[in-house]
Symmetry: C2
Amino acid sequence: MVTIKDVAKKAGVSIMTVSRVINGKSNVREDTREKVLKAIEELGYVPNSMARSLVIKKTATIGLVISDVTNPFFTTVARGVEDTAITKHFTVILCNTDENPEKESMYVEVLARNRVDGVIFTSASGKKNPLKSLFIKKIPLVLIDRTIEGLEDVDVVRGDSVLGAYLLTKHLIELGHRRIGIIVGSKTISTAVDRIEGYKRALKEFDIPIDESLIKINDKSKFSKEDGYRLTKELLDMENPPTAIFGGNNLMAVGAILAIRELGLSIPEDISLVSFDDIESLSEVYPFLTVVKQPAYTMGVIATELLIRRIERKDRIKEKREILLKPELVIRKSTAPPKIKN
Amino acid sequence: MVTIKDVAKKAGVSIMTVSRVINGKSNVREDTREKVLKAIEELGYVPNSMARSLVIKKTATIGLVISDVTNPFFTTVARGVEDTAITKHFTVILCNTDENPEKESMYVEVLARNRVDGVIFTSASGKKNPLKSLFIKKIPLVLIDRTIEGLEDVDVVRGDSVLGAYLLTKHLIELGHRRIGIIVGSKTISTAVDRIEGYKRALKEFDIPIDESLIKINDKSKFSKEDGYRLTKELLDMENPPTAIFGGNNLMAVGAILAIRELGLSIPEDISLVSFDDIESLSEVYPFLTVVKQPAYTMGVIATELLIRRIERKDRIKEKREILLKPELVIRKSTAPPKIKN
DNA sequence: CTGAAAGCGCTAACAC
DNA sequence: GTGTTAGCGCTTTCAG
């Protein structure tokens, strides 16, 4: 393996001079620089970032912890993060937790060991605990999409779930729906709590009594297709089933569609369906689902910018900053007035 | 920052003993181990992977270079890679090149500097050149989805594009189509070349003359939605336009749909459309596009397994291995016999 | 403008 | 079982 030493020997200079050339320091005579560059080229020398990081205590790496890249929402977030990181010369390590608290802790540990300069984190557990090793090492952190209670010194970038859920529910109510089911992930996830709140707020505003049996919460934390499928079936198996369903996120909505179809019902004739979060590749080709859309890419960009600013200490600000992004209601074809008014 | 030294001091042992505990070596007395563990806990010590890597010359990190995580095909590949990597305790660094040769080179350089143990690579340029620093450092490499000519010592995991394109084209021919347009990315990309080959093979088999004007190749290398849109328009603007279009990949097919609709035509009544690669979130909800599906997740898994085996030198094999995965034809609703038989 | 010495946090190899 | 020494590849002083 060729090292800085080999380059120095070949170029007939000290390693310090080579180091200066590599790092583009100005105080090197032009002909020395050229000699060094030539040696680097001939030897095929590639600097070792780890040796460098060990000394300077920076890695130019950030960790991105999300539940699943396969979820279109998170892939867009990830893209925003990566695009932004690269402009600032940061590399990103991607971690999928599948909303599994153990994976969550494991990845945090891996990131801490790798001394990433910062972490962008989507919490599944809603607990601060898994983040322990980051706090100990004082690694800058920004939460994305989901908050965690009682965290200081941590920025949060998220969509306004309360508002989004309110808009979606209101839309349904205005169409005439009174029995609206909602399916969400576990209460440990802030978006689940917020979306239920927005839902309830809309109902209250229209003086519709809240029927807790219409609120289906997945105890196993996930906002997955399978959970959407299962919870929708539970809703439709009720004696007095809802006339509309609110899918807590895009995957749950897909699960709901599958469940509804399997029961031989049609959307929106028999039942209306709305979803939090869009699926772009779907809606482009088949603009069917009525959704509330979040600026996922922008979320990734902002989170990364805030993070890097913290890393570079360009922020004197010490307190927690919370960026709340507005969701956008997109009405398509999956909603219609209910068949029978109740 | 707490180091192994601090732990050693606190536990009243040498740093070597702490190192042994951290690495789970057996030759440490039980009570010493406990003392050390207690000190680690109290101090909140997290081992520094870089210092370790510097000595052992392994990073337990692999690089994954793809064109775009946002493309459902690659997100699934990425998921397969990550899931497999983690079971072997490898971390993955994700790189999106957008099929841009400069980004490609840049990322390879970053990965080489970070001394990743191996790289899984999707080539956009089709050239070996960007991989130079990997070869110099003898970093194990496996190509995924797309091959590069004239590379030894490199495994390739890819779908059988020739077969897939053949199946798709044959399906169209059997429906009665004679003028079939095809849109693909640049010829520097092996899948573009292969898909054209499969297309031609099917035409020849049915004695249909090949009309080169029906073969639209994007010179700017990308297999993107925008390119699909543009090339489709070009095809449909012809004097004697095709009755069916073969989208070179999923994104191009989406672009094609958009272009076709914009011209006021319907699929499959006015024009048939097929696509290489599925979009799962779309087809689940709206099983419309006739496609050839590739086992993306499996590709990621196999590529990672091959790579890690090389990294761990469990393979005595030195020659290039090529894994060719079978595609699967899924006939849905976007294809029908042509209106006018030509 | 250039170089020599020290050390980042850890492990390999060898003592004891 | 446990500790000592050397050194991984680089940058940070500080001399010259």
